[in-house]
Each structure stands twice: as C-alpha cells, then as structure tokens.
C-alpha cells in the first residue's frame, strides 16, 4: 500500500507521561492483577465489597465508641489546650480499657486505639469516609442510571465491563476521563475556567459534612445543618455560572444564565417547603428533626397533615430544578445548548461536574428523607425494638430492621431512582415554563401551604380526632402508593422478557 500524502503534518506517536501516564500505568497494573478474579467471581466480589464496607464502617464505629467509653471512664482530668501529641489517654490506659471489656489482642489494638482519641484524627478518618462515599455515589448512580434508562428504553444498558451487568463501567469511564486531555479553549478566562469545577464540587462535598446518616452518623452535628446544606447547594451554582462564563462560549453563557435564574427562583419555594418540617419540630438541626420521626410509618412528617404532604411534593419538584435534573435540565440541555455550561470541559474537570451533580442529587434526596420521610427510621416503630436490649446482635437487628444508615441510604436511593425514572420519561420544559411554574404556581401554592400549615399547627391539637384522621388517611395513601409501586416493579421484573423482548441478552457476555 502506498503512503497517502496528507496536507497536514503527521502527528508523532502519542506519548503519555506525567500524571496521565502514571494513572494509565496504574490502571493497567491493577487490571492485570485483578481482572482474572473479577472475571471469575464478579457478583461475589461486588456483594462482598458492599458487605465489607458495611463491616468496616461498623468496626470503625465500635472503635470510636470504645474510645469514648474509655475517655469517660478515665480517671484523669482532661487538661485544656492539649496539643496535638500527648492526649488525655495514654497507651497504657487504652490497653487497660480494652482488657476491661475483654477485647482480644488488647496489646496490639491499643496502639490502633490511641490516635482515635484525637478529634483531628477522627475528623480525618470520617472525612476520608465521606469522600469515599461521595466518589462511590456518582460511580454507581451513573451505572444504575444507565441500566434503568436501558430498561426503560427496551435495551440492556452497559453489559460488558466487569462481567456482571457491566458493574464497573463507570470506573472504566472514570479512568478514561482522567487520562483525557485537559482542554482549555482559547480566549477563556483560564484561572476561572480551571477553578469552576472545584467551586461546584467542593460545596457538594461540604454539604455531606452536615448531612446526618443516622442519629450519631454525622460528621458535624450542626445546629443549623439545614441552612448550611441549602447554602452549599446555592454555592454549587456559582461554580456552574463561572464555568459557563469562563468558557468563552455563548452556549455556555446561556447555560449559566439559565442555571442562575432557575436556581435563584426555585430556592424560594424549596426553602419555604423546608420551613414546614421546621415548624413541626421547632429546630433547624437535621438530627433532631430526624429523631422525631422514630414512631414508624404514621409518624413521618409527610403524613402529619395535608400541608406537609403537599410541601413534600413541592420540595421534590423544586429539588429537581435545583439539581438540573429532567424535566428541568435546561442548563445542560443538549438539543438546545449543545451541552450548556460544560460544553467546553473535558476529562477530569468535566467529571467533577458530574460528581457534583450526582452528589447534589443525593443531598437533596437526603434532605427530603430526613425532613419528610422518616429519616433513618424504618416504617416499623422504634418502640418495638426496645425489648431487644443492647447486645451486639440485637444492635445489628435494630440497625437493619428499625433504624440506621442503611434505611437512610435505601430511601435516598429510591428517591434517586425516581429522579432517574422521571428523566428518562419526560421531555424538557421551556425556560419560560420553568419560571412560570415556579413563580406563578409553586410559590403561591407554597405560601398557601405555609399559611395553612401554620393554622393547622395552631388550631388542630396533636393527637386529636382531626389530626389522627388526617394522619391515618395520608398514611394509607402513602402506603397504597408504595405497595402499588412495589407491585408494579415486581410485575415488571417478573415479566421483563415478555414486556421488552429478550433484548439480545443471550448474546451478551455476563448474562
């Protein structure tokens, strides 16, 4: 074959060096080591990873508790202004505390225990855990979104990477994104262009620092956690706006302007909807609000009055708008604005926006769960668990059946699923309709709800006939909806082959 002559200069062979080369090399090594195992036991690895994470977190929690008990039981006065080294507990005391509770290998464990008494160390550990969690959420939400979208559209979604239903597709995408070229368009405001993804990403992480996963499962138990999280969601928008502006692209500016005006207007009904649980409980602390809903299904704030029911709905709609999720995904609508504010982004910076978006989706779902849907409590009343005692197995049963982060995460994931479901079902609305829906519909409606709820709280005695009646009716409606949903999902799952055809599943690997 003769060499074709081309009018442009042929490019040299691509060389990957620096961080990209390191990442690529690392990925190749990891792949070479783990790929055979992953191929052999994909499902088992995934399940054991989930289970192992739970066990690790549980062990972590127990460790902290042991130290706390030791600290309280310690006979020493806690000296003020202790430095970074030389804390209240010594290794010896830790060892004796461990021996007291009969832990095995106390001589070894005490060295592990020692650093945990310092707040800084605990914070670092917890922050690491939260960062890990935030990294996992987008990975699996994106994979799950693709699977759900596939099912909705009568196809399978990712099936290849990782073996079992393409479960490591997002990780492969992540490695690809990190290795991609980091483009900065000519004429862009370089510093701002590079800063913007972080301005979107960091607030999303910070919001998690105040979001409780359980009564004690919170990084910082802020008295004003709700306001803080709302503020973080608001600041995330700044990153988006600056990204759009700094890209030197008109479509990006359009995306940024849409995002700004959408966010600024929907924050108002959203904030007002959040006022309703605050009125019910009388605090801004998310932990306290969550803990008032421990009495099972009927005690969830959403079923408390017709107004809370409506407010939960309004909040959910507004939260869709504030997360730029369909049908409110105007800032990044590809059929109008190419890709909106992140048109010019590529590689890692682009993925930061996605991390921020999915993290924000989880945060707004978490807020809804905490404020309206019984926080980390199961539909069973916590009172039933009183007889179980405080032994370790009893705690495990309690954590799984009655209250615990598992319930919180499960509820959030369900709400995430609803967001995904809506996205792949509904068309996108227009900017004037977005603003009309907010200012002319949601806002007056929310004002009425707020007013109505104020009078409801003032005039209807808690536990009275009217209150109980409404509570029961609404709880029944909720239960019927939930059971109906579960029924439909089960029916669809059972009849999936008949409903969408065999989807070529036999032909794909890992089926």
């Amino acid at each position: 074959m003769t060499q074709m002559s081309v009018p442009w200069r042929p490019r040299g062979k691509a060389k990957f060096d620096g961080p990209a080369g390191m990442v690529a090399g690392g990925a190749k090594t990891v792949f070479a080591i783990f790929a055979p195992f992953v191929r052999a036991f994909p499902g088992a690895i995934m399940l054991s990873a989930v289970f192992g994470t739970i066990v690790a977190v549980w062990a972590h929690y127990l460790l902290f508790e042991v130290v706390d008990i030791a600290l309280i039981g310690s006979t020493f006065n806690i000296p003020a202004n202790t430095g970074l080294l030389g804390g209240p507990l010594t290794v010896e005391e830790a060892r004796s505390a461990l021996t007291q509770i009969g832990a095995p290998a106390a001589g070894f464990l005490c060295y592990l225990l020692y650093p945990v008494q310092y707040g800084l160390v605990r914070d670092l550990v917890a922050a690491g855990g939260i960062l890990g969690f935030i990294s996992v959420i987008p990975l699996y939400t994106i994979w799950w979104e693709r699977k759900v979208a596939g099912r909705i559209q009568s196809r399978t979604g990712p099936m290849r990477v990782g073996g079992w239903h393409g479960w490591s597709q997002s990780m492969a995408d992540g490695i690809k994104l990190i290795c991609k070229e980091d483009l900065c368009p000519a004429g862009a405001d370089k510093p701002l262009f590079k800063l913007a993804p972080y301005l979107a990403f960091v607030p999303a992480i910070l919001a998690f620092f105040a979001l409780p996963f359980g009564t004690y499962w919170v990084f910082r138990q802020l008295d004003v956690a709700l306001v803080f999280i709302l503020a973080m969601l608001g600041i995330e928008v700044l990153g988006v706006i600056i990204a759009g502006w700094a890209s030197n692209n008109k479509w990006s500016v359009y995306g940024a302007m849409r995002e700004a005006c959408q966010m600024v207007s929907y924050e108002i009904p959203m904030g007002m909807a959040l006022l309703i649980p605050i009125m019910c409980v009388g605090t801004l602390s998310l932990t306290t609000i969550g803990d008032t809903q421990s009495g099972g299904w009927t005690s969830w704030i959403v079923f408390r009055s017709p107004f809370t029911f409506a407010a939960a709905l309004v909040y959910y709609i507004a939260s869709l708008a504030s997360c730029k999720r369909a049908p409110f995904d105007l800032p990044e609508s590809e059929s109008e604005l190419v890709a909106g504010f992140h048109t010019e982004y590529s590689g890692f910076r682009w993925s930061l926006f996605f991390f921020a978006e999915y993290a924000a989706m989880f945060v707004v779902s978490g807020l809804l769960v905490i404020l309206f849907f019984g926080a980390w409590y199961s539909p069973l009343p916590l009172l039933w668990a009183d007889g179980l005692g405080e032994s370790l197995p009893a705690r495990a049963v309690k954590g799984v059946l009655f209250a615990g982060p598992i319930w919180f995460i499960a509820k959030c994931v369900f709400l995430l699923y609803v967001q995904i479901w809506l996205r792949w079902t509904l068309p996108r609305i227009r900017i004037d309709q977005v603003l009309y829906a907010c200012i002319q519909v949601l806002l007056p409606l929310m004002m009425l709800i707020l007013l109505g709820h104020t009078f409801y709280e003032l005039l209807v005695p808690v536990g009275g006939v009217v209150w109980t009646l409404f509570n029961l009716i609404l709880s029944t409606i909720g239960a019927v909806l939930m059971i109906g949903m579960l029924f439909v999902a089960t029916y669809g799952c059972w009849n999936r082959v008949r409903l969408v055809g065999n989807l070529g599943r036999e032909l794909l690997p890992g089926s």
């Binding site: 009568s154 359009y254 609508s333 109008e336 079902t425 609305i429 004037d432």
Partner: protein
C-alpha cells in the same frame, strides 16, 4: 430594528442601540447554531440574533453537505444515477429512487409492469413509515424525551430488516430502478410484512401515550412556530408541513401518480385544538400539528400497504428494452410525495443516453427556507422545536 444582513457584520457582537424600553437595557447577541449542533439534524447552520432567550432573527445557512448531485446527474446515465438519488434524502431512499425513476420513465416513455408498481408502492409507503419514525423520534429527542426515540428506532429496525431481505441494503437501497424494481420479494415476504403491520399498528397508540399527549410535550409544541395556510402555500411548503397548516394537499390524492388512485386512504391535516384526538391548546399550523400529521400518516401508510398486499398481481418486475436507453430531446418535471414533501425532478434529455440537465427540487430545501419567517420572536428553545417539526434532511437540502 435594524435590518442589516448578518453576513455583513464581521464581529459577531452587534452594537445596535435599541430604543429605550425601560431602565434595564439588554443587549443583542449573535449566536451560531450549527453546523455542528445536536438539534440541527445534520449540518444546518442557523444564525440567531437573540435578546436573552428571545430570538429576533433566525437565518438558516445551508450548503455544508453540497455534493454536486445535479452536476453528477449530467454526467451519468439514469440507471447509474439511481444510487446518487438515495443519498439525497438518505432516510427515504426508496421514495427518492421512485421519483427519479418515474421522471425518467415519463421522459423515455417506459411502461412499468403492474407487479413492479405495487412493489414500489409497498416499499415507498414502508419507507415513509421508517422516515416518519426517525422524524418523530428525533423530534422527541429535540424536546428532551429520549425514550420514544429508541422505541421508534426499534420499529424502524424491523422495516430495515424487511428492506434488507429484499434488496440487501438497509439505508441506501438503489432498489427502485428505471422501468421497475431490481428484485422480487423473497419467499414469505408478504407474510412477514403482514406480521409486522399487525405488530406496528398498535405501537402508534403507544407513541401517542408516550409522547403525543404528554403534557410537557404538548406545552412545548402547541402554538409554537405557527404557519398560516396562506403562508404555507406562498412559501411552497409541502408534505406534512403544508398539511399541518390545514391544507388538504397530497400528491398521492390530488394528482395521483403510479397506482395511488387504486387505494382508499385519508389525508391527515392539521386541526384546531379540541377536535377529535387533538389537545385543547393546539392551533392549526403549529409544531404539534405537523408532528401529529406524520403520526397519522403512518397509520394511513399501513392502510395503503394492506390494500396493496391484497391487490398485488404476479408477473414481471422490470420493463423490457431498457438497454441502450436514449432520452428524447424533451423535458419533464415530475413531483411525487416524499415523506418530507414534494420531491421534484426536472430532467432534460438531448437525444443521448445522458440527461443534459437534472434538477432536484428537495422538499427540505423549500421547507427550511421558511424558518426565519416563523422563527422571529420565539424563544431559543423553540428553534429546535421548529426545525425538528419541519423535519429536514440536509443531504437532500444541500444535494
């Protein structure tokens, strides 16, 4: 408002001092939509003059897919040119082949066998369905609804399978040839086709539930990009765009070509809101009506195919004496009803085997020229809605 030509502005930032409308002064911006834009269905470029989200002017620029189709036609014999025609409107290759074949047959006085005529009708109507499925699916995509797109492509795949079983190609068929068609149906084809129609007709109702009557979709398309009947005719809009404006004009009915006069079918036209099957907020000539006309046309195409399947005779599929075809020193202008509108071929012969002039009148070319007329004063998000409802294929627009 200054009526300056957009091209004459070297800088994309216009500096037009608007009359004082209030204390808050906003500025106009020129935005280039396309040629690489997800919503322009190919390489259409629309230069938008916008005031915030408001579009003041939407000037379409075409020519990015110009492939000298007419010049090529002046250098090739008709049967050689057939493959070029289905690369014009690549979503409706059968109809394009048919238009060119009919034009040459009229010019050279070729009589097509009966069976070939029926095969042509069946495939033209099947291709109309396939083309409308793409149009409707991508229209949903333009509105942000991803799922109907894949549903419609699922059904289109089946039609393409039918085509492939007969002519071996899935997109550029070159199947309908001068004097007839290239191949006869394979065995059991009509049974499979019947099976497909039985499967497909209920699906249209599914599309209605998914997309047509979706509240958001109706909100996005009803009363958007309204073309009055008078305007539609003056701008020579054809096809579903013309019928969406309430004009009962379909070449298959009004000037029947081939054997369309033997079938019983209806011409769907745009109807005012509140009529049967029409949501209340819809007006005649808006995007929703254009969309819905296509949807109903698919039903009617199914009817035509069913009738043609019953009537189809046995026999030859290609006319005799096609070798050394000489075109007389004469000219014809033939229009047929393409899925997108009236596709016309002007052909001039000069006594040789090669036509001296081939001119194609593409429906997309004429239909998209109205964009600036109806795109003034709408919102930015309405431009994809209008472009999508006009349903252009740039290959045929630019030729």
């Amino acid at each position: 408002m200054a009526d300056t030509l957009l091209e004459s502005q070297p800088d994309l930032m216009l500096d037009i001092d608007k009359s004082e409308q209030g204390d808050v002064r906003t500025e106009e911006m020129l935005v280039n939509m396309g040629p690489q834009h997800p919503a322009t269905h190919g390489v259409l470029r629309v230069v938008l003059r916008t005031d915030g989200e408001l579009v003041l002017e939407a000037v379409p620029h075409i020519g990015y897919l110009h492939r000298c189709a007419e010049k090529i036609g002046e250098n090739l014999q008709p049967y050689q040119y057939i493959p070029y025609t289905d690369r014009m409107d690549y979503l409706a290759g059968m109809n394009n082949n048919q238009a060119f074949a009919i034009a040459i047959e009229r010019l050279a006085g070729i009589e097509v066998p009966e069976r070939a005529k029926y095969i042509r009708v069946i495939f033209a109507e099947l291709n109309r369905i396939a083309s409308h499925l793409v149009a409707l699916g991508t229209y949903g995509l333009d509105m942000g609804a991803f799922t109907p797109f894949l549903y419609m492509f699922r059904e289109r795949e089946m039609i393409l399978d039918l085509f492939e079983s007969t002519c071996g190609a899935r997109l550029t068929y070159s199947y309908i040839n001068v004097g007839g068609v290239h191949d006869d149906f394979p065995d059991r084809f009509l049974d499979v086709l019947e099976e497909f129609l039985d499967y497909f007709e209920p699906k249209i109702e599914e599309y209605n539930q998914l997309l047509s009557y979706n509240h958001i979709f109706v909100k996005r398309t009803a009363n958007v990009g309204v073309i009055s009947p008078d305007d539609a005719v003056r701008w020579a809009l054809t096809g579903p765009v013309l019928r969406g404006s309430g004009i009962n004009w379909d070449l298959r009915k009004s000037t029947p070509y081939e054997i369309y006069d033997r079938f019983d079918f209806d011409i769907p036209i745009g109807l005012p809101g509140g009529s049967e099957r029409i949501p209340r907020s819809v007006v005649v000539g808006d995007c929703w009506n254009r969309y819905f006309v296509r949807l109903v046309e698919m039903e009617q195409s199914c009817r035509i195919i069913r009738q043609a399947m019953k009537q189809i005779p046995e026999g030859k599929i290609l006319a005799n004496k096609l070798k050394n075809l000489k075109l007389p020193n004469d000219e014809v202008y033939v229009e047929i009803e393409n899925p997108r509108g009236q596709l016309g071929f002007y052909i001039r012969g000069d006594g040789s085997a090669i036509p001296s002039r081939v001119k194609a009148r593409g429906p997309s070319f004429c239909n998209i020229s109205v964009l600036n007329h109806i795109g003034k004063g709408c919102l930015l998000a309405d431009i994809p809605a209008i472009v999508g409802s006009i349903d252009i294929v740039m290959g045929e627009c630019d030729r």
